[in-house]
């Protein structure tokens, strides 16, 4: 599987400010614009996703706000990574010491919230070249390039299964765990139109041709009636 890019759906930054569009187009890297906030991530064989899709009452006393949810996950993952490295929730990233290995994105509605993490179990340095250094970066990044800013989980943990087992153990303190397949997460609502979008080569070509506006545009289909 080759790399693909996953920038957020938000129109805060145009795609051209998030990714190196010409190499992406040249190398046929799929670009998927997702519905949640946060930054752009590379997805390849070394990426591990963990997503919480929760009703607002799923965690007793947890208010459905970004900082509250982020803090709760930081405590949960603190238990998972205990003993494997100096785990920190640094601003909105998961880091060992000052090096990031997990990026987060959230989407919050009135009754539910999503918190998803892209974990860098491993990554190909070459793929990071498809990303631009973001204009909006956490303070602790200190203008470091990707190589100096990031680290790999496999440098701290012996195997992915150790991570998975540790996560299940930590979750078991809050929830009853039941294994299932991905089909249970799929919507059976025929009226549902996902806002996450795969950008076409024409979309990317238009960006290169400077047809992408940096001004605010309405997201097609919003608001939902």
């Amino acid at each position: 599987m080759t790399a693909r890019l996953l920038p957020p759906l938000s129109w805060v930054s145009p795609v051209s400010e998030l990714v190196e569009v010409e190499p992406v187009l040249r190398d046929n890297v799929p670009v998927v614009r997702r519905f949640s906030g946060g930054g752009t991530v590379i997805v390849d064989q070394g990426t591990v996703f963990v997503t919480f899709i929760c009703n607002k009452t799923a965690v007793t006393g947890l208010q459905p706000f970004p900082r509250d949810i982020m803090s709760w996950t930081g405590q949960l993952y603190g238990k998972v990574f205990h003993g494997f490295g100096e785990f920190q929730l640094r601003e909105n990233d998961y880091a060992f010491s000052h090096r990031k290995f997990g990026g987060n994105a959230q989407s919050i509605t009135k009754d539910r919230w999503v918190h998803h993490t892209s974990f860098l179990w491993d990554y190909d340095v070459k793929n990071m070249n498809y990303l631009k250094n973001p204009k909006r970066a956490p303070e602790y990044r200190l203008a470091r390039n990707h190589t100096d800013f990031l680290c790999r989980m496999n440098e701290y943990m012996p195997s992915r299964s150790v991570f998975t087992e540790g996560l299940i153990a930590a979750l078991s303190e809050h929830f009853t765990i039941q294994q299932t397949g991905p089909e249970t997460a799929l919507s059976h609502d025929n009226d549902f139109e996902p806002s996450t979008k795969l950008l076409s080569p024409q979309d990317l070509q238009d960006i290169i041709s400077s047809k992408e506006s940096s001004t605010v545009q309405r997201v097609p289909g919003w608001p939902q009636s």
Partner: protein, 164 residues
């Protein structure tokens, strides 16, 4: 006594004034955890406020909400003419890592949106009850306001949520 003095000095530091500017003195109350709640408004349990001015109602999010959201970097608003329903989402705010829906406390038709928010979304953080207003709505069911929280009940609601 000590608590009242603390609340007063904190309120002055926050420089909150009553919206509408008709009252001679600021009308506010301080919730336990430093967020402010303005008198004269009604609130939803999902932290939106509405100021009823008869034919038009102004809507935004509360100081409690903006404090919990963090820095707002983008605001998505509906167009004028859009119908909104009580409790339904009409837009969203994006903070650094999250998109969060904003819900209308009342039903009606959007007659105006705050265009300043496209260039200065941070107004929601710095002035949630005044310059950070989001939409103006022509209410379709004025009695819906009765189901909303008054400032005292909303303050209590915030304190109960923060107490966990």
């Amino acid at each position: 006594m000590a608590l009242r003095l603390w609340a007063s000095s904190a309120a002055n530091a926050l420089k909150i004034s009553s919206s509408g500017a008709r009252a001679a003195a600021p009308a506010y109350s301080i919730s336990r955890y430093f967020s402010t709640v303005l008198d004269g408004l009604k609130y939803s349990s999902s932290h939106e406020w509405v100021k009823n001015e008869g034919t038009v109602a102004t809507i935004g999010i509360s100081d409690h909400a903006q404090g919990h959201l963090g820095e707002v970097v983008f605001v998505e608003l509906p167009e004028a003419g859009t119908k909104v329903t009580q409790g339904g989402a009409f837009g969203n705010v994006e903070s650094v890592k999250a998109t969060s829906d904003v819900n209308s406390p009342i039903s009606g038709e959007v007659v105006e949106v705050n265009e300043k928010l496209s260039g200065t979304p941070g107004l929601i953080n710095t002035s949630p009850y005044e310059d950070g207003w989001m939409i103006k709505v022509k209410p379709s069911s004025p009695s819906e306001l009765d189901a909303l929280l008054d400032p005292a009940k909303y303050t209590k609601h915030c304190e109960e949520e923060d107490a966990h």
